[in-house]
Symmetry: C4
Subunit: 233 residues, 4 copies
């Protein structure tokens, strides 16, 4: 492997391999990428290749306009969505897309996931947003590219900050998560699935369940984030 | 093993062994077969044999009228259903029958599985059909043979194409899936279970969940199928 | 190990060890026994011993009145229930008691499990019965002994045959299953859990789900049982 | 490792490692501690360290006022909650905190878990209590310290005995369990999750499910606890 893309290929490979381990993908229903913003490229899983066959050097190098720069295989069919996000959100280093079961069910329901507890608030202080279905013209056009803009536009309209809210559901589709690294994006996909599952159970136990109080949301988020955080080493 | 049926025996064995690995069968509640249309026969799992004991050479060779051609063991009790499908649908090379839990629950509910998201649309553009319960006379007669015709008739009445819709639920019974190969039929059984599970969760999260819009159904199906497809290598 | 009880000790040990493998017990929440009707005794798991520590020779030998005949350990706290069933039902060779999650939830709901599909009908032609809660006097008295009679009485009142219906739920408690052998009793516990799970999902998908039609119940049961059966080898 | 804290470090390590094995934690969402009341200290998991990296000597030694006595790493962010409980409840030797999915969903629903069956009654004779959300001032102040008092106060107000009821849900947060040893506290966390899961299923099967009758609650608890107990060896 040439050294130019070695780091992002290896990190993207590792991130992809974590997805089936964490029970987040069936067959090839997911993809992870890792970016190098200095070189303006990212490494992403090739399309439709089974995880057991995957090798680090199979990762495809793509620029932030979605052009393949290096690699023998065709990149993930969702590549342009990744490209749009990297181009507009300069501080993210990894993106993960899965069809994990509970998060996808919320996406199919076109509902934001309400903030019901501290597990959720440890990671973000808002409901987990669900972007609305795209207009027919966007779907018929450059679909995966437009999916990226659907995500960007929803964040802008809702006044969300991509460095604080590192996950979204796309209506009738599935979740996307991101983070400063590929590892963090994978972590966020697992957290999202866990929170999505507990939110469904919560509504089944108590159909009138209320969002958690603001004071507790603020406290839990600040335990893990910002200047006064005291979680971890 | 004689060479005449070697390929289909080995492929049928491999397909059967994948079913417990994928969590689709308990004990012996399932069977897979692989056909050789040139010879007019298929290899199928013997009835009631536990998976750990199964060997490739145990597969029973049966013709498309359901007669055993070769093999020391009695074939699966569902053999005639497989025979009817192979006889009338010349382009399928493999069939799988399971009692996987979520798909079977939909069958027991006598409901088609609504198309709620892209995971479903990546594989077919219609709801997953549920054939109605059979008439008493058909049940009391040549039951497994008639089950095959129940499937054929439902596809004809609904105007479905077996090359596009590779799965069905039989009311109060369980799913059948098929495909060009045994591998593809197994894959379809796992996809069906995954989609069935998410469809239930979707209705639990949003009791008024709506089917996905047509433009998105069309787009996702065409990403993976037909002349303009761009998924996979 | 003396040879007198060797067979039933080994079979009871094997049956007990299958329970955690099949996901039917947490910690020590279950027990299996195997009877020797000629000697009028059965071998049963000692009370509260963790599965990884269990050895065949730990099985306790008890007679059909519940007296310990041989063994260094105290037998399962449910021993007298097993004794009553062996004493009155001479054709059963094994009994299993678990707190498996879905079957236990039906028991806690005090509902019979409706016959919704062929997976159920392959094993019995009636709903899975749930015995009502015991009278306070029976509970305060010889509780585990009376639990056995609660089961016997419910079968008699409902006109059920213990050789055809090999399982019951005891209200607010949990399931008991039995069979000609310890293996068959274990098998029945796994089938019950599987059917209990799918019955809940069925009602969630279709709140007005109907019992399966009689013709299909009869057909599926007769495929596996009786003179004209044609399932298995 | 110095011998002074060797026992509690090793027991705390073992208790922590059991949590992912039992499926009770994702990533680092949980912590276990073990106390030495003679020395007035407890050993607790360091904050945010992944389980595969954890070693016995990483356990942090903390006194019952929450001061770190020994250790190179920062203790769990929930340390002060553990400290308060050890200080006021002298007979507990271990505490476990998880975000296990079903128990946490009940906490998010702000509901006690009703006593629906013998699995629950084998361990406690009351509903599993859920402490109400804390006042904003308590949250903004010394939050984890106040969480301990929220638990103590709820037990006092409800007239519960911490030696009989070894578990609680904290509203919108998650469960805490304890016991005479670290092992017992872990055991209680697994039992709580199991009971929480079956209680949800029970209400789904029977929305009007009733609490189990008192005579049966008393009987099952006394089988396992007190002078006349006859469960175990």
């Amino acid at each position: 492997m040439s050294t130019q893309y070695k780091r992002i290929k290896e990190e993207a490979y590792a991130a992809n391999m974590r997805l089936p381990e964490l029970g987040l993908v069936l067959f090839t229903f997911g993809n992870a990428s890792v970016a190098d913003h200095d070189q303006g490229v990212f490494a992403i899983k090739p399309s439709g290749v089974d995880y057991p066959q995957l090798r680090p050097d199979d990762m495809v190098i793509v620029d932030f306009d979605g052009n393949t720069i290096s690699g023998d295989l065709r990149p993930s069919s969702d590549t342009k969505t990744h490209a749009v996000l990297y181009k507009h959100w300069p501080k993210i280093g990894g993106i993960v897309h899965t069809h994990s079961q509970y998060a996808t069910a919320w996406a199919q329901s076109q509902r934001d996931i309400p903030l019901y507890g501290t597990t959720h608030a440890d990671h973000l202080t808002t409901d987990i947003p669900c972007a609305p279905p795209m207009e027919d013209a966007m779907i018929a056009g450059n679909y995966e590219y437009e999916t990226g803009f659907q995500i960007l536009n929803h964040f802008e309209q809702q006044g969300l900050d991509y460095e604080e809210v590192e996950m979204i559901l796309v209506a009738n589709h599935a979740p996307f998560t991101w983070g400063k690294t590929g590892d963090k994006a994978v972590y966020n996909s697992a957290v999202l699935e866990y929170v999505a599952k507990m939110a469904l159970f919560t509504e089944q136990i108590q159909p009138n369940a209320a969002r958690m109080k603001d004071a507790l949301i603020k406290k839990h988020y600040e335990r893990k984030h910002g200047a006064g955080s005291y979680y971890g080493q």
